[in-house]
Amino acid sequence: MNQSKKETFSLLRIVGGLGEHALYLLTDLGRMGFFLFSALRGLFKSPFRFRELIKQLCFIGAGSVTVIFFTALSSGMVLGLQGYYSLNKFGAEGMLGSAVSLTLIMELGPVLTALMVAGRAGSAMCAEIGIMRISEQIDALECMSVDPFRYLISPKFLAMLISVPLLTAIFDVVGIAGGYLAGVKLMGVNEGAFFAGMQQSVTNHDVILGVVKSYVFALLLVWVCTGRGYFVQKIRGAGFGAESVSKVTTQAVVISSISVLIFDYLLTAVLL
């Protein structure tokens, strides 16, 4: 009898724990939904902070050019070498331009740019807002009747939505140049065939797919990274103080990176 009571009790605890976790997830999702709505609404509130927008564009956009350049160059060159190795087996090296450009424009460009920006700018944004939250700077803004979304978050949203598609375009161009260097200059693929293959195979639809992906990834990145920082004190298991900011920053980069990869598949499946 006693044993059966114990079993029932532990079963109830498991079910209760699951229910509590589900409630937490729902609350968190609701919070993040409200956050996204408020941040987007903040874009249309006046006065808009153009100086802050320029600062964020410099940080997210101009500041990421170097890392994007080297990532793109190395990815493009590796694609050029690997592509040449594979296509050479079928005597189809002429298709190298097409393979490199399509892979970069539709997949690697948007995805790798988003992952690089998440690691470089997303983490910094999350930590900045998290520290502002725990040191009561966001409370201070609210107490001054200053909307923290308009003042802090919305300029970051707009800067990310402008920067990421432009960085993706830079990634694509530099990546294709890398593929050209490795394929044409190093492995001796015909230059005309490389460019002709690229021109014939890349359509407007492919470019639009890449652009749509870069906008969606930019929104995901800035939403997750700023949102996690903003709610740093409400995230279960994050702890307190500096530790909570470090944990939440790691969490933001992981969640945003995984979301980018999941949405990459979904967008490809829907739009291809």
Binding site: M132, S135, Q137, C143, M144, S145
Partner: protein, 261 residues
């Protein structure tokens, strides 16, 4: 001829049976247990108590940064927890707040920190803002530090900049969260003097949360002691030992020692 006593000042803030607890469902910690009190207009109310007793929670409830589990927090005639976003923003314009850690924006200079409420909440020209901030800096003996960043300031200077920022819009009510924590006695005295000078000049209602006992009582028109979710209200320090509430007597004995025993 009968002597008529003046009517008590109108309350600026009222707590009515407020409960507030924190923590997860299974281990909730009750911080405020059906507390009721009023903060009279134009006077200084000191809320004292040990760490973790809910003093700062009271300030956050007043500002609508937290909502009570039950009961009402009234600012004037308005119930803070019933206000929508826009009404809450308008209500907060009545307040100036000096946060415990000053909560200065660490990426902005001293000048920019003090100018921020003027830039965001008024239509003053840059020239007028510059003049007003310069005047405040002079009053609070901060001239020459305007280009410094918060990380380059001492604790006392941070508090003074925080006070300058809180008073820029000449608020009706000013909330002070541990204004002297971490300061040496000289700096503490300076902050008290600045408080008295600015309150005399602007005539604001002040709510000071502090555990700087009994020194902080010198500023008080009304004292609220808080311990283990209970509170008691006193007109002056001398009444404290006669509290009817055991937790308050226990707390007073602990922090005021022989004065109460």
């Amino acid at each position: 001829m009968s002597i008529t006593t003046p009517p008590p000042p109108e309350p600026a803030i009222r707590f009515v049976d407020v409960c507030k607890s924190f923590g997860e469902r299974t281990k909730r910690h009750l911080v405020l247990d059906r507390v009721s009190f009023s903060v009279p207009k134009g006077q200084t109310t000191v809320i004292a108590g040990g760490s973790g007793q809910g003093k700062s929670v009271i300030l956050k409830l007043i500002l609508g940064l937290l909502r009570p589990d039950s009961g009402q927090v009234l600012v004037g005639a308005k119930d803070v927890s019933a206000l929508g976003y826009q009404a809450l923003q308008e209500m907060r314009m009545l307040f100036g707040v000096l946060f415990q850690g000053a909560a200065l924006f660490d990426s902005l200079s001293v000048f920019e920190n003090i100018a921020l409420p003027l830039r965001e909440r008024t239509k003053l020209s840059n020239e007028e803002i510059r003049n007003r901030v310069a005047a405040t800096l002079e009053q609070l003996e901060l001239t020459g530090h305007e280009e410094k960043f918060p990380a380059q300031l001492s604790g006392g200077m941070k508090k003074r900049v925080g006070l300058a920022r809180a008073l820029q819009l000449e608020p009706e009510i000013v909330l002070f969260d541990e204004p002297t924590t971490g300061l040496d006695p000289v700096m503490t005295r300076e902050i008290y003097e600045m408080f008295s000078v600015t309150q005399q000049r602007l005539g604001y209602t002040a709510v000071i949360v502090s555990h700087d006992i009994p020194q902080i009582f010198t500023l008080a028109d009304q004292i609220i002691l808080l311990n283990k979710g209970e509170l008691d209200v006193f007109a002056d320090e001398a009444q404290i030992p006669h509290s009817s509430k055991p937790f308050i007597r226990e707390f007073a004995r602990m922090v005021m020692g022989q004065q109460v025993a």
